[in-house]
């Protein structure tokens, strides 16, 4: 097929708008923003890419005072999810973070990484860590000890985020502003309960006991 160079298409429905067409009404005054890369599910084969031999150790093996946090991830039919990954991030027992992003400065607590990842292929996840200390909330108050959790799995197109609080910190929990924003009848889903070697924290993705998830 040959093209006729004089066969100019009619004006489009939307006429050409120069980029400066909005001059005076936001051009160069709106903050520059790139569009975010969309998330996607981690899929069923996450073990290929995300398995670390040292993944579960938020605190080094044998660290005095260390504890295991274990839990199951359960779907809406009550079935255990065997192909999820749980990641945790938290402060050390003194309330510091091994992160230069902390405006108070990066902390260095012996044996403490603060981050762990664990898969649920055995039916539950397990991470070894130190119980975090209380933290300033930045507005003059104190937060209760907590661990931020990201959960990734086949069937979740984005991570879901929750927080682990500790059932044996009732006084601190009562003063925690975030916990108080959660309806009282759902707060229990955020409490890890003491066990022989640490804590248990089950995550229910749906149902009557659906865990409270957060938008960060």
């Amino acid at each position: 097929m040959s093209l006729n160079p004089l066969d100019v298409p009619p004006d489009p429905n939307t006429p050409f708008q120069p980029r400066s067409g909005q001059r005076g009404t936001g051009f160069l005054t709106e903050p520059f923003q790139l569009g975010l890369t969309p998330s996607a599910t981690v899929g069923p084969y996450l073990a290929i890419g995300l398995t670390w031999p040292d993944g579960v150790w938020a605190a080094a093996e044998g660290t005095p005072g260390g504890c295991w946090i274990r839990g199951r991830v359960v779907d809406g039919a009550g079935a255990v999810v065997p192909d999820a990954m749980v990641e945790t991030w938290q402060a050390d027992p003194d309330g510091g973070f091994p992160s230069p992003e902390d405006p108070r400065g990066a902390a260095s607590y012996p044996g403490f990484r603060g981050y762990a990842r664990a898969q649920t292929s055995t039916g539950e996840f397990a991470i070894f860590t130190l119980k975090p200390g209380r933290l300033p909330d930045g507005e003059g108050g104190l937060q209760a000890p907590h661990i931020d959790v990201s959960l990734f799995a086949r069937g979740l197109l984005d991570r879901v985020v929750t927080r682990i609080y500790f059932a044996d910190e009732a006084d601190a929990n009562a003063e925690d502003a975030v916990l108080q924003t959660v309806p009282a009848d759902r707060r229990g889903t955020l409490l890890a309960t003491p066990t022989a070697d640490g804590y248990r924290f089950d995550i229910d993705l749906q149902g009557d006991r659906e865990t409270v998830f957060f938008a960060v």
């Binding site: 969309p38 996607a40 290929i48 890419g49 809406g76 402060a91 981050y115 200390g133 930045g138």
Partner: protein, 248 residues
């Protein structure tokens, strides 16, 4: 100082959230596995405090030189179309994200993963494990050499095939920047029937698709695909002032 006292007020950055209309939803009906897994209740807003504005430092010690070349394993070369995948990791304010750990995994050229639950009858490649890791440089750049993954069937619906894709996992500086996603190849004819691709709002789908790069294609060696990745950035404060009100 750190410590467990309340102390004074802290000036914390605030990581911007993507507009709802451009964000991939956690659940999507056409992707069947979401049915019993995606939470049904609305999430509770979490204010960004110290735990949310910090993040682990995971860098060079997690990566070896061979992790950036997926085409050579067990003393031999993987079968498939050799490709260079490269790009920059930026935040939404356009700033590079240096020292970011990028973990990738993928199927082999036949569309088969080296994983016990992948049992579809396409051959495994003894010279391909599908795992790569890199850390971004001071300008936020990453690149790795691999083979183009094949498409593969899955049970989501009749004759369902995943478009060719590479899984990516990224850490930025702070908890809100954590991202797990998939990179696609331009013009894939399988996009139209793939619910994982179509779960991305229409206006944002192009961001998940790499672009062919003639410039970086290496003569007699490998095709190149560029994929820039944008993580959440912080709210901009145009001027920092000191106690005298002077612009610092």
């Amino acid at each position: 100082m750190t410590g467990t006292t309340s102390g004074s007020r802290l000036h914390l950055p605030r990581y911007l959230r993507e507009d709802e209309s451009l964000r991939t939803p956690v659940g999507y009906a056409a992707y069947k596995s979401t049915g019993l897994r995606a939470p049904l209740r609305a999430p509770v807003d979490l204010p960004q405090r110290l735990t949310e504005v910090t993040g682990p430092v995971l860098g060079e010690d997690r990566v070896t030189a061979q992790d950036a070349d997926l085409t050579w394993r067990n003393g031999g070369e993987a079968v498939g179309q050799r490709i260079l995948v490269f790009g920059r990791v930026l935040d939404s304010g356009g700033r590079p994200v240096p020292d970011a750990l990028v973990e990738v995994w993928q199927a082999n050229a036949a569309g088969r993963y080296r994983h016990v639950v992948d049992n579809w009858p396409a051959p495994l490649d003894p010279h391909f494990d599908g795992l790569g890791r890199v850390v971004t440089d001071s300008l936020g750049r990453y690149e790795f050499l691999t083979i183009k993954p094949g498409a593969y069937p899955w049970g989501n619906h009749h004759n369902a095939w995943r478009p060719a894709h590479i899984h990516f996992s990224l850490f930025g500086r702070a908890f809100p920047q954590r991202l797990v996603t998939q990179m696609y190849f331009p013009g894939d004819p399988l996009f139209g029937q793939d619910p994982i691709y179509n779960a991305i709002p229409d206006a944002a789908r192009h961001r998940a698709v790499s672009q062919y790069s003639l410039e970086r294609t290496q003569d007699n060696w490998a095709l190149a695909y560029q994929w820039d990745i944008v993580l959440r950035g912080t709210e901009q404060t145009p001027f920092e002032t000191d106690d005298d009100g002077d612009v610092a």
